[in-house]
């Protein structure tokens, strides 16, 4: 579904990512964990084109996309919920969703065809608040708007950058439930998380990132082995 090869990217002329190789198979959910400043969000921004790649390739289903402008990558089925969400705060919830719906309607024959109604079914709280500006929503609600908005793009791959950070435990459970629903539907996911428990629960495999490099790959067995996770937390997330 998505693969990076020897990807190098950063800000200005300073590289932050070095030779990053990751792969997300179709229908797979992959986590990337790492300490603050490891370069996780930088990887997300490079994949969706908000920062240019300096070297290496990014392939979506075998097609190189690293030289496409960011807006074209969404049309190739890569949707992302950025860190900080980047909603249109002064516009209403309905506007936020409709803008995404219009963009999503440009994708024909998409594998996952989320409609406006489907998103409201996934996040029932939205029904009563369509007219409210999303800027006044709580952090959890905004996160859900951001996820709903991304789903309306009918993506093949959804990238979530720290969806649980800063949210109350109860809200985290709701987000986890939504992620599990998406996995059951077979959507490919790339999940960035600092919360290793949530990450392990929501994904099949994981990469550990440190100082801009992938320093460890965890297969399904290791990634769900609680004692190993404790060690990893000690070593890389401490």
């Amino acid at each position: 579904m998505l693969a990076t090869h020897q990807l190098r990217a950063g800000y200005g002329s300073v590289a932050v990512l070095f030779d990053v190789d990751i792969a997300v198979g179709a229908g797979e959910s992959i986590a990337i964990i790492g300490a603050n400043g490891a370069g996780k969000s930088t990887l997300v921004r490079a994949i969706c084109g908000l920062i240019p790649s300096m070297a290496g390739t990014i392939e979506k289903e075998g097609r190189p996309i690293q030289s496409l402008p960011p807006h074209a990558r969404a049309e190739h089925g890569v949707a992302v919920v950025l860190e900080g969400r980047h909603l249109f705060g002064e516009l209403s919830l309905e506007s936020n969703l409709r803008i995404a719906e219009t963009q999503g309607s440009k994708r024909r024959n998409a594998r996952f065809d989320f409609s406006f109604e489907d998103v409201l079914d996934l996040f029932p709280f939205m029904r009563g608040r369509l007219g409210a500006p999303v800027g006044v929503f709580s952090g959890g609600e905004q996160q859900m708007v951001a996820i709903g908005r991304a789903l309306l793009l009918k993506p093949d791959l959804l990238i979530l950058d720290e969806p649980s950070t800063g949210l109350a435990p109860k809200v985290v459970r709701e987000i986890v439930a939504v992620i599990q629903t998406l996995r059951q539907k077979g959507m490919s996911l790339l999940l960035i998380e600092q919360h290793i428990g949530v990450a392990s629960e929501c994904s099949d495999r994981a990469y550990v990132m440190s100082l801009g490099k992938i320093v460890k790959e965890l297969d399904s067995t290791d990634w769900h082995d609680q004692s190993l996770l404790a060690e990893i937390t000690q070593a890389y997330l401490g």
Binding site: C48, G49, L50, P69, P70, H71, A72, R73, A74, E75, A79, V80, L82, R85, H86, L87, F88, G89, E90, L91, S95, R98, I99, A100, T102, Q103, K106, P133, V134, G135, V136, Q142, R149, A150, L153
Partner: protein
């Protein structure tokens, strides 16, 4: 002061107010859609009126053709401003100040070009209904001024509808509120900015063909219009189309009352004093949102 004199000055203020409002409208469109203060807005009007003059007066073609092409010339210029000035500046990571400065440079360039080819003379563009007047409570008002008010109001309503109800208008808003968020949705933010400047240019061209019959075309008119239009837009909160027109009308009326109560020489002083007072007392303008909502 007689009632007729009062009515006469209110009508004059109203007309001028819509002139300022129309320029302010273009400034608000561009600021709302691209976070750029376009100091060329008055010069887009100059271009629109010059093109209308060349077609309708110099070439003697139908007035309506002159009007339409004047508006189109504004739009095309807006497009070119983005391509030739804003885009290269943005590529070099220009900030809001650098956009203001390059458009200010553009404003002087337009003014100098008109001076070069037309000299210091002023030119009269015929208005809608020629010089016909109508009586309003014993005072006289030009038919053209009434058309100016009607058309401006129509444009404001059309713009409100455009931003609130059309997919492209919503995408333009999204691109300006959060460019990165918009990019991740597949919105071509650069193109939205180009279209915003072209739209601002159309409004500027329209302002030109509507304003020129009232104030005459002259190479310096652009910067003066920009200043008054900017004041109108600021009064209206800088992002609201409705606010810009309303701000313009307030400005026009205050000026008109200053003329009858103090002296015509103090007109601009009063207008700018009002602007400064409003900016100090209400930095968000009369219609601005109190503190932008975070996303």
């Amino acid at each position: 002061m007689t009632l007729t004199l009062l009515v006469q000055s209110v009508l004059a203020g109203l007309t001028n107010g819509f002139v300022y409002g129309l320029i302010g409208l273009g400034i608000a469109v561009v600021f709302r859609g691209a976070r750029i203060i376009n100091a060329m807005q008055g010069d887009l009007a100059l271009i629109g009126s010059v093109v209308a003059y060349l077609i309708a007066v110099s070439l003697g073609l139908p007035m309506i053709l002159g009007f339409l092409l004047g508006v189109v010339a504004g739009g095309v210029t807006g497009f070119l401003v983005d391509r030739l000035m804003i885009r290269p500046t943005a590529k070099r990571r220009g900030t809001e100040d650098s956009f203001l400065l390059v458009t200010l440079g553009g404003a002087f360039a337009v003014s100098a070009t008109v001076l070069l080819y037309f000299g210091r003379d002023s030119y009269v563009l015929p208005g809608i209904g020629g010089n016909a007047m109508v009586d309003v409570f014993d005072a006289a008002m030009r038919v053209h001024a009434i058309w100016l008010i009607v058309i401006s109001t129509g444009v404001v309503l059309a713009l409100r509808w455009f931003y609130a109800k059309t997919a492209i208008g919503q995408a333009m808003l999204a691109a300006s509120i959060d460019p990165e968020g918009a990019l991740t949705l597949g919105i071509n933010v650069g193109w939205m900015r180009t279209m915003t400047l072209a739209l601002g240019g159309l409004v500027g061209g329209l302002a030109g063909v509507l304003v020129a019959p009232l104030i005459n075309i002259q190479y310096e008119m652009g910067l003066l219009l920009t200043l008054k239009g900017f004041a109108a837009a600021i009064l209206g909160g800088l992002t609201s189309p409705f606010g810009a027109i309303f701000g313009g009308v307030i400005l026009g009326l205050v000026e008109a009352l200053a003329v009858v109560t103090i002296s015509s020489g103090y007109k601009d002083v009063v207008a700018m004093t009002l602007l400064i007072a409003i900016m100090i007392a209400m930095p968000q303008g009369l219609f601005g949102r109190r503190g932008r909502l975070g996303g």
